[in-house]
Symmetry: C2
Subunit: 544 residues, 2 copies
């Protein structure tokens, strides 16, 4: 199926040009009845309207398996006259969002490794970028909404946390450069986010607008370094896209948040830092924007400020009309819209495979799902995830020899929303094999674990913005106190900041893992007990 060449922007109407600036959100699942967030995810009929009638430029996908996304990307591209940019928030690899692909631990695990072995961490980050790009391409994604280049120098940051590559500008710069260079080996877009730095906030911008009072010197010393490194690396190619932050930086703009700020996007990012790629807003439906600006004014302000791409506007059609209207009344310059479309064309050329004799000879052929998905979850990819998990875990206390009957207390935020804990998760099945009965608790539970049995406690606490991180820490403390007499071992899966808030008896063996996925569980239990167990043990039973 050959797609036509990218048209000359001059041949497009104003509304066609503006539509190319818009990225709409839909589910990675194939059917409307599988939509998980009806308020935010367009149905198939809506997608057909947005793509076929309006001609939007891109799509962001959330949810579904890798196989579904592979089919979905093919279907969506087939609707589009101009090839789509298809993006996903795959900060922990493609498997973080789309089951079947490789699920890497969060980037902060690399920061942990960098403390003692920066070169190893850089090598891992480079491979992490390569594999993320390969797996993204394999399922039809051409736009990686990663890496987070924010410096997480505020331990109570409710948004960034383990999504950052570290706590210092130096480590974040080096590791994210490595990630970008690894990904740049492939024709996909990478995204440095969230400009000008989202690491030092204590308010969740999904809900409300954080205000930051740093002066410019501090901004330059801490936050901007990793962006500069991504935009003008000493070696290799610059990052393709910079995503804006929904934060107020009073030193640069007292009126508007960065996403809508001309001094920040055009002044600082475009002119001062000389960024020549795509500027994309963070999702415009987020609370930090919607609580102050209407959906239309927000989109117009973003473009006015210098954004080339508007991500997830609350009302796609209204947003296109509002931007067109702003051009007609002279508030926005049509030349600027055309410049953004030319930026988008360069991005689409990059991701559309080898070019012909010139941009006008470009042809586009979507990937074949069956052959492509077989490139996912290759041994070297799973091996890298395992190596990062191993090298970044922390451990203490004496050895642990499980012997049932016992109790396996697992604490999660929400039992209905933990993809890392399927029925067959090693955190459940392995202790079951020792004769440890499961007690599963979440932030809704008023139930207490039994006190008389030898107990292993496994805590899954990330401090996720949408979750009740702090309540969970309190619960975890309570459970640890209650079971402390019989406490045999504790495993934390998640955030080192939570680990630091929990006081453990000195002699209890414990392990901290950045990962929460089944692979992390299997490795953690194996390491604590000191022998190969869990998934591998079960697997062997089949081939006997």
């Amino acid at each position: 199926m050959l797609k036509p060449i990218l048209p000359d922007p001059d041949s497009l109407s104003l509304s066609q040009l503006v539509a190319q600036l818009i990225v709409v959100r839909t589910t990675g699942h194939l059917f409307d009845h599988e939509i998980e967030y009806p308020a935010w995810e367009a149905t198939n009929a809506q997608m057909e309207h947005y793509i076929t009638d309006l001609g939007v430029g891109g799509v962001i996908l959330l949810g579904g398996s890798a196989a579904e996304v592979a089919l979905r990307c093919q279907t969506l591209q087939a609707m589009a006259e101009i090839p789509l940019l298809i993006a996903a928030d795959i900060e922990e690899g493609v498997g973080q969002r789309f089951s079947g692909a490789t699920w890497f631990p969060p980037p902060m695990a690399l920061g942990e490794i960098a403390r003692t072995d920066l070169e190893l961490a850089k090598a891992y980050a480079y491979q992490f970028g390569q594999y993320t790009a390969r797996e993204a391409m394999a399922i039809g994604l051409n736009w990686i909404l990663a890496p987070v280049v924010d410096v997480n120098n505020n331990p109570v940051n409710p948004v960034i946390n383990v999504r950052a590559f570290g706590e210092t500008p130096k480590i974040v710069t080096q590791l994210t450069q490595a990630f970008i260079q690894g990904a740049q080996e492939y024709p996909v877009l990478t995204t440095a986010k969230h400009f000008p730095g989202h690491g030092d906030t204590s308010i969740d911008s999904h809900l409300s607008l954080p205000v930051i009072d740093h002066d410019l010197g501090r901004l330059d010393r801490v936050e901007l370094g990793p962006f500069k490194g991504a935009i003008s690396p000493e070696a290799g190619k610059p990052v393709d896209v910079v995503m804006t932050a929904h934060i107020c930086l009073s030193a640069l703009d007292k009126q508007h948040p960065a996403t809508l700020s001309k001094p920040i996007l055009t002044g600082l990012l475009r002119q001062e830092l000389g960024f020549g790629g795509l500027i994309v807003t963070d999702a415009l439906v987020m609370g930090a924007i919607t609580e102050t600006y209407g959906p239309y004014e927000a989109a117009v302000l973003a473009v006015e400020a210098g954004a080339d791409v508007v991500l997830m506007p609350a009302d796609v059609e209204g947003c296109i009309q509002a931007i067109c209207e702003a051009v007609r009344v002279g508030r926005l310059d049509e030349g600027q819209i055309r410049t953004s479309v030319e930026q988008i064309w360069r991005a689409k050329h990059k991701v559309s495979g080898p070019l012909g004799t010139g941009p006008s000879c470009h042809n586009w052929e979507p990937a074949e799902p069956v052959t492509q998905v077989q490139q996912l979850a290759q041994p070297e990819m799973l091996g890298l995830a395992r190596n990062i998990l191993r090298a970044s875990s922390r451990q203490g206390g004496a050895g642990f020899r499980p012997k049932g009957p016992g109790q396996n207390v697992i604490l999660v935020d929400d039992v209905l929303n933990c993809r890392y804990l399927p029925r067959t998760a090693p955190a459940i099945t392995q202790p079951m094999g020792w004769g440890y009965e499961l007690t599963l608790l979440d932030s809704r539970s008023s139930q207490l674990p039994k006190t008389e049995l030898p107990t292993v406690v496994q805590l899954f606490i990330r401090g996720n913005p949408f979750r009740s991180g702090q309540n969970l820490v309190q619960l975890a403390r309570k459970y640890l106190e209650i079971t402390v007499g019989d406490l045999q071992a504790v495993i934390f899966y998640g955030s080192p900041y939570v680990l630091e808030q929990l006081a453990l008896p000195d002699d209890v063996p414990w392990l901290f893992s950045y990962g929460q996925m089944p692979m992390a569980q299997s490795l953690a239990l194996e390491t604590l007990v000191g022998e190969a167990i869990a998934v591998e043990a079960v697997d062997r039973s089949f081939t006997d």
Copy 2:
């Protein structure tokens, strides 16, 4: 991709012939790291060995989304020199096992409708068969392991329960005939199971062997009717396959269970009832067989008894060798193996699309996943599921007007294993919208709901063989007693046999639904409250 014609059985070696009799189990997921049952599900490398080196005749899939299965079937067929039969236990439609496709309520819902309107139930059963066939074909499945034609005349039956189409031979015969005729409009195989009738057992054959002492007169009066109807329908085509039961029927064979019994398979089914299609065993790894017979002897006995196809032997390679050895030592006749292969060829011809000028001109071309999956979950399919749910629900008590704050107590068997209860399930989100806080309990919970708040109780109890059905009923009784003072409404999702075990205060509004899936929840809540709510309400919020 054209596949070669089916070869003349005389051109195949003995072990190649025998391999065609074997159906192996694997996951519908694409990757080994997604295998949920490592003891039973072959890895990709094993599948390649079984298909490419050994030449097994078929595959049974469990797990994965419809999209994954579509890709997986294409991959597996591409490995096979002789096209594979690919089967799945889709008794409640394709969506029961593979997400994205239509999930119908269990067949007993049709039996409920048949009590008052047999013609409507038959029309629904016919469409149910059609849609199941269409959705199966759309993802590459060519063998439906349905309908269950057992008569569920034992309310404590732990295996069949709501999987049956009814409690009387007449209703089961009529509805399963309609299902088969509907499916027979398409080139897929249908399967009447479990011969000679599994409806009157109180032992779970997955775990141990049920013994049934009925005389032949009773067998003829009750159990055999639906099989006769499926094999020799008054109108339409006979069922393609009969699956055997792992039960001992002492009146016919005191020594072996039906699966391994020559009097039952060859004597009764083949000769007396004149069944001319494929005879397949139920899974040979099940406890009823493995606890008495080794894996090799079980397979040899099954073929000796008259089975054409051996489903899920514990050791694929050893099973092929054992059957070959039995031929070489004269215990089995090679002519019988060849006859079974000819039966299998007829089945493969049927499912492989239009024939050429004769069987030897047959070509095979696998379906194209992208275009095929778009045929799933069509409005008429979802509409049928909704109609069956509506027409089969029961209701009582006064009207219900929810008003928060309140409590929504949901009781499930295992919170880690309920596909029907995603985070966005109407059973959760709808009461949340009323201001009813969720208390989620399962058979592991020692927690009790609060007593002071107005409470809606939603029970998901099926009496599934692998679950702790009876314990749950006790728990449900307890919770209903505790909350009875403030009990506003009760919804049962699952089995009418559970409903009958629960005593409810007369004045409490209640509803019983055969379905457990989100669609059943949305309908039940909507019906109880008396207005359109739930999923539909949420959906509207998007288009506003």
